[in-house]
C-alpha cells in the first residue's frame, strides 16, 4: 500500500508474530483442571521476545509454560522466570480463556483490544512506560481449551495505538550505512555491553546518544529530557526489533512513536531497529530510519484512548488459530504409543521378524472368561493383539477375583456382573484402545439333552457360535468341561481356524493347538449338490495338503465320546480345585503357542515339533520350536512336548462328523446333544467299543464264541 502523504510513503510496520510452545497449553490445561475450573476471569501472563537474530526469519512473541502462573499441583521441575535473560524480554499480557467455543466466538474483540490499548495509553501518560518500557508491547490473548479433544483455539492481539494521519517514512537504511566507521564501532560496542549486562539485557527500548567525537552511549528512555538538551549530540530511539525485513521496522516501534508523539511532541523521529547475529549487534541487519509524525487531533484529551489495531492475521485472514495436541496430551493415545513402542523395541533388539501388523489386526475369540480366559486376554494384549471377544454365560462369583485376573470385588456385588461384560470393562481400563466385546452365551454341549421348548434357543446359540468362529481368526477353548469343547472343536475343524485348547487338572495341564480340519483345499462346502456319503468322503481327506497326517484336536487324544463325564475327571477340573499356579502357566503357554503359529510359514499346517537336545537353542524359526501339545506337571515342575495325529474316529474332527455337519447343519448338532451315544455310533466308535468289550468278555469267560467278531486292535 503506497498511499502518499506529502509525497512520502507511509511507514509500514511488520506485525508481531506469535509462537506458543506446547508447554503453555499443557500448563493451561493443568490449571484449568486443577485450579480454575469454570472460572473464566482474565489471567495475567508473560510473553517473551528477543531481537531478531536471523536474516531470513523474524523472531516471535513466545509463550512458554512459564508464561502462566505456577500450578502448585503440577510436579514440574521447570525453572521459573529469570530476569536478565538476554533471549527473553518479558512483556505483560492478559489471557481470556473461555469455557465454550461459543463463548470464544462471542467475545467482543473490539472491546477487549480497546481495554488493553487503554492500559498502554495510561502507562504512557502516567510515566510507567518510561520506567518499565516493556509495557509498551502489552498484548492480549483469547483462547478456548477443548480438554476433551485436546485442541486449542486462540487469537493474539498486539495493540498498537493508531496515528492518524499515519507516520511517514523519510529515510530507512541499514545502520552500517548510516553511521560513520568510528560511530559504528562505538555503537556496536555499547550495544553489546547493554546486551551483556543482566541489568539491561531485557530492556527493549532505549536511547542511543552519540557525541561529536563519535562516542556512543546508551541511556534509558526516561533520560530523554536530559539527553535532548545536548543539541550537538545525535540521538536515536532504539528498540529490540523482532522483524528481519530490510525495508520495514517491527511492530514495537508503533507504540514507541505514540509515546514520543504524546509526551515529547517531536516532528521527526530518528530510530534504530536493533537486530543481532550470533549474539552480537549486527549493524548490517539493523536499520536506522527517520519518521515524520504529526500529533493526532484528539490526543490532547488524555482521557480519550486512541484507536488501536493489532489482531494477528492467520494466513492473511482475520480468523483465529487452532492447534491440536491430542497426540501428546491424550492419555489414550499416549498409552497406545507406549504399547507400540514396547513391541517395536522387542522387534528391534531381539526379533526382527516379529509380525506386529499381523498381531494388531488379529481377531481372537476366547470361549470362557474364567481363570484361563482372563489370563489369555491379558497376555494377548501384551503381544499387541487388540481385537478380543470373550464368550461366557456366567456371573462373577465372590471367589473369582482371586484367580481370575480381570475381576475385582466390585464385579461380585449385587449378584455379580456377567463375566463377559466385566472382563471387557476391565480390559478397557487396562488398555483403552482395546477393541473388546463380550458375549453372554452358553455353549451347547452333547449328552446334555434339552427339553423341546428350549430347542430353538439352543439352535440359535449353535448358529451364533458358528458365526462367531467364522468372524474371528483364532479361537481359544478355555472352558472347564470337556463337553463344552466339542462343538467349538467341530466348528473350527470345519473352517480350518487356528484353535488353541488349554485344559487344567489338579496339578497338571494340557496346552495344544488343533491340527487343520479334514478339508484340505479351498473347497466351497455350500455349493455342493447332495451327493452320496461316499462321494463326500472321497472329497475329504484324512491327510493334509502335504500328504502327511494332520495333527489331532483335543478329542483325537481320547477314544471316548464327550458325554457327561463327571466321574472320570483327570483334566477339566473346575478351576477352584486346581493348583493356582497352573492357570497362569497354561494361559501364557497358550498365547505363546498362538504367536508361534502366526510366525510359522506353514501356519495351522505346521508339523508338530518336539523339544529335544538336538534342537535346543538353535531352531530354524526365530521363536523356536512349534510343538503340537505341551503337557506339564506341577508335581514334577516338568513339562514335555508331544505330537498326536488325528484319529479317523474322532467325534469332533474326523471326516465323517465334519461332513455330517456340512450336510445337515444344526439338525446334526441337535441329534448329538440329545442322544448321548449318537456321536459314538456315527464315528464307528460304538462298534469298536462293542468288539473290544466282547473280546474282553470272551477272555474272561474263556469261551470260544464270536471269534470271528474279534477285530484286531
Amino acid at each position: 500500500m503506497e498511499a502518499k502523504n506529502s509525497g512520502k510513503p507511509i511507514l509500514q510496520f511488520a506485525p508481531f508474530q506469535s509462537s506458543v510452545d506446547e508447554g503453555f497449553w499443557h500448563r493451561l490445561s493443568s490449571l484449568k483442571l486443577n485450579k480454575f475450573g469454570i472460572d473464566d476471569s482474565p489471567i495475567p501472563i508473560t510473553g517473551f521476545y528477543a531481537p531478531c537474530s536471523h536474516s531470513q526469519v523474524s523472531n516471535h512473541l513466545t509463550l512458554l509454560a512459564e508464561s502462566l502462573p505456577s500450578d502448585s499441583n503440577e510436579e514440574s521441575s521447570e525453572p521459573g522466570v529469570i530476569r536478565g535473560n538476554r533471549n527473553r524480554c518479558s512483556v505483560p499480557g492478559v489471557l481470556y480463556n473461555t469455557n465454550t467455543v461459543e463463548g470464544f466466538r462471542a467475545l467482543d474483540k473490539q472491546e477487549l483490544i480497546k481495554a488493553e490499548a487503554k492500559k498502554i495509553w495510561e502507562d504512557i501518560q502516567n510515566g510507567k512506560a518510561l520506567e518499565d518500557s516493556s509495557v509498551l508491547s502489552r498484548f492480549l490473548l483469547i483462547s478456548f481449551a477443548d480438554l476433551k479433544k485436546w485442541s486449542f483455539h486462540y487469537w493474539f492481539a498486539f495493540p498498537a495505538l493508531v496515528l492518524d494521519p499515519p507516520a511517514t517514512l523519510l529515510d530507512l537504511k541499514p545502520a552500517s550505512q548510516f553511521f560513520s566507521v568510528k560511530e559504528a564501532e562505538s555503537v556496536s560496542a555499547v550495544l553489546n555491553d547493554w546486551r551483556d549486562s543482566s541489568l539491561t539485557t531485557d530492556v527493549p527500548f532505549f536511547l542511543v546518544v552519540i557525541d561529536p567525537n563519535s562516542r556512543a552511549t546508551i541511556k534509558h528512555l526516561k533520560d530523554w529530557e536530559t539527553c535532548q538538551r545536548a543539541t550537538d549530540h545525535k540521538l536515536l530511539f532504539g528498540f529490540y526489533d523482532p522483524c528481519h525485513l530490510p525495508k520495514n521496522p517491527g511492530w514495537p516501534l508503533r507504540n514507541l512513536l505514540a509515546l514520543i508523539c504524546s509526551r515529547w511532541d517531536l516532528k521527526s523521529v530518528r530510530f534504530l531497529c536493533y537486530r543481532e547475529t550470533r549474539g552480537f549487534a549486527d549493524l548490517g541487519l539493523s536499520l536506522v530510519g527517520e519518521a515524520q509524525v504529526t500529533v493526532p487531533q484528539g490526543w490532547g484529551d488524555l482521557h480519550n484512548t486512541p484507536n488501536a489495531v493489532g489482531w494477528e492475521l492467520n494466513k492473511g485472514k482475520k480468523i483465529p488459530r487452532c492447534i491440536s495436541l491430542a497426540k501428546s496430551m491424550d492419555p489414550t493415545r499416549l498409552a497406545v504409543s507406549a504399547a507400540d513402542l514396547n513391541l517395536k523395541l522387542m522387534r528391534w533388539r531381539a526379533l526382527p521378524s516379529l509380525k506386529l501388523n499381523t498381531l494388531s489386526s488379529l481377531k481372537c475369540l476366547l470361549l470362557g472368561a474364567g481363570t484361563l480366559g482372563c489370563q489369555v486376554a491379558r497376555m494377548l494384549m501384551a503381544w499387541g493383539v487388540r481385537k478380543i471377544t470373550l464368550v461366557d454365560n456366567g456371573r462373577v462369583a465372590m471367589s473369582n477375583p482371586l484367580r481370575q485376573s480381570l475381576y475385582t470385588l466390585d464385579d461380585c456385588l449385587n449378584g455379580g456382573e456377567f463375566k463377559a461384560v466385566a472382563a471387557v470393562n476391565s480390559l478397557k481400563k487396562i488398555f483403552p484402545a482395546v477393541e473388546a466385546e463380550g458375549v453372554v452365551m452358553a455353549i451347547p454341549m452333547p449328552g446334555h439333552p434339552v427339553p423341546s421348548q428350549e430347542e430353538q434357543s439352543v439352535l440359535d446359540d449353535c448358529r451364533r457360535l458358528h458365526d462367531l468362529i467364522d468372524s474371528h481368526d483364532a479361537v481359544f477353548l478355555l472352558t472347564d468341561t470337556r463337553e463344552s469343547r466339542w462343538l467349538p472343536s467341530l466348528l473350527c475343524a470345519n473352517t480350518n481356524k487356528i484353535t488353541i485348547t488349554a485344559a487344567l487338572g489338579f496339578d497338571s495341564f494340557l496346552v495344544m493347538r488343533h491340527g487343520a480340519g479334514p478339508c484340505s483345499s479351498s473347497h466351497d462346502s455350500k455349493s455342493e449338490a447332495a451327493n452320496a456319503l461316499s462321494t463326500d468322503l472321497n472329497s475329504l481327506a484324512l491327510t493334509d495338503r502335504n500328504g502327511g497326517h494332520r495333527l489331532g484336536c483335543y478329542f483325537c487324544n481320547d477314544v471316548v465320546a464327550p458325554i457327561d463325564s463327571t466321574a472320570n475327571r483327570t483334566l477339566d477340573q473346575q478351576c477352584t480345585v486346581t493348583r493356582p499356579g497352573l492357570a497362569p502357566i497354561a494361559s501364557a503357554l497358550a498365547v505363546e503357542l498362538l504367536v508361534g503359529i502366526l510366525h510359522h510359514p506353514d501356519g495351522i499346517f505346521a508339523e508338530g515339533e518336539i523339544a529335544n537336545s538336538s534342537n535346543n537353542g538353535s531352531s530354524e524359526q526365530p521363536l523356536g520350536i512349534l510343538p503340537h501339545q505341551i503337557r506339564g506337571s506341577l508335581g514334577q515342575f516338568s513339562q514335555m512336548t508331544l505330537v498326536g495325529h488325528s484319529s479317523d474316529s474322532c467325534t469332533a474332527c474326523c471326516s465323517i462328523v465334519v461332513s455330517e455337519y456340512r450336510k445337515r447343519g444344526t439338525e446334526f448338532i441337535l441329534q448329538a446333544i440329545n442322544h448321548p451315544t449318537y456321536l459314538e455310533d456315527v464315528t464307528g466308535l460304538t462298534e469298536l467299543m462293542k468288539t473290544a468289550h466282547a473280546f474282553q468278555m470272551d477272555w474272561d469267560d474263556g469261551t470260544d464264541n464270536d471269534d470271528d467278531d474279534c477285530v484286531e486292535i
Binding site: F13, R254, L313, K317, K318, P320, K327
Partner: protein
C-alpha cells in the same frame, strides 16, 4: 580410567562435569552456532541432593522444508478497521524449529539425546515429517544399524513426549569407540571427552555436526 576395564558408562556426577566441559568447548569451536546451555532441574527433594539437569540447544530453525502445515479454518472473518500502517506480507517459506536436549539416563548410565520438531505456532511435527529433514544417510543408518533406534518417550524433566535415540546400545559402542582410537585408549578415559565422542556418533543421526577441530582438540590435550 583404563579403557579395557571400562564398561562404556558414566556416573551422574561425571555427566555433569562432561556436560559443562562440552558446552564450553562447543562455544569455543562453534562461535557461529548457538551455544548449548545447561538447564538445572530440581527433582523432588527426597531424591539425590545433587542438582540434576540437561544440556539444551533450542530453536534451531530449518528453512524451506516443503511441508504442508494447515490449520483448521472454520471461523468467519472478523471485521477490524483497515490500517494503512500495517504491512501485509505474503507467506514466506515454511519454517520448522528443532530443540535438542542431552539428558542423563539413570538406568543405562549414559547420556541420551532427546529432540523434537515443531512449527512456529507450536504444532509438533510427526515422525514422518521430521524424517524428511534428517540428513540423507541418516534414514539408512536408522534402518540398518543395530545401535540406533528412535523412540518417542516422556522427557525425563518436562513430562511431554519427545523423540529420543534409545540408549540401550550406547555403552557398548562408546567402549568400542574408545578402544578403537589409539590416543584415547592410551591415555585412558577422560570424562571431559565423553560427550564430544558420544555426540560425534549420535549427532550424525540427527544432522548435528561436530567439527573435527573439536574432536582433535581433545585428543591433543590428552
Amino acid at each position: 580410567m583404563e579403557v579395557l576395564s571400562w564398561d562404556g558408562t558414566l556416573s551422574s556426577r561425571d555427566f555433569q562435569v562432561a556436560a559443562r566441559a562440552f558446552a564450553e568447548n562447543w562455544k569455543q569451536f562453534n562461535p557461529a552456532l548457538p551455544p548449548w546451555t545447561w538447564v538445572p532441574c530440581l527433582k523432588q527433594p527426597s531424591r539425590l541432593s545433587q542438582e540434576q539437569g540437561y544440556l539444551s540447544l533450542e530453536k534451531i530453525c530449518l528453512l524451506g522444508s516443503n511441508k504442508e502445515h494447515e490449520q483448521e479454518d472454520v471461523d468467519e472473518e472478523e471485521p477490524e478497521p483497515v490500517d494503512n500502517a500495517t504491512l501485509v506480507e505474503s507467506a514466506g517459506p515454511q519454517v520448522c524449529y528443532y530443540d535438542f536436549h542431552i539428558a542423563y539416563s539413570d538406568s543405562y548410565r549414559v547420556p541420551v539425546l532427546y529432540f523434537r520438531g515443531y512449527y512456529i505456532d507450536g504444532q509438533p511435527m510427526a515422525w514422518d515429517e521430521i524424517e524428511k529433514d534428517l540428513p540423507a544417510c541418516s534414514s539408512k543408518v536408522l534402518l540398518e544399524s543395530k545401535w540406533t533406534f528412535i523412540t518417542q518417550e516422556e522427557h525425563p524433566h518436562l513430562n511431554r513426549p519427545w523423540y529420543k535415540l534409545h540408549p540401550c546400545g550406547t555403552s557398548e559402542w562408546m567402549k568400542l569407540l574408545f578402544l578403537g582410537d589409539e590416543s584415547l585408549a592410551k591415555n585412558g578415559v577422560a570424562v571431559e571427552q565423553y560427550l564430544v565422542s558420544w555426540l560425534s556418533v549420535v549427532g550424525q543421526v540427527v544432522g548435528l555436526r561436530i567439527p573435527f577441530d573439536m574432536l582433535n582438540h581433545h585428543k591433543s590435550c590428552n
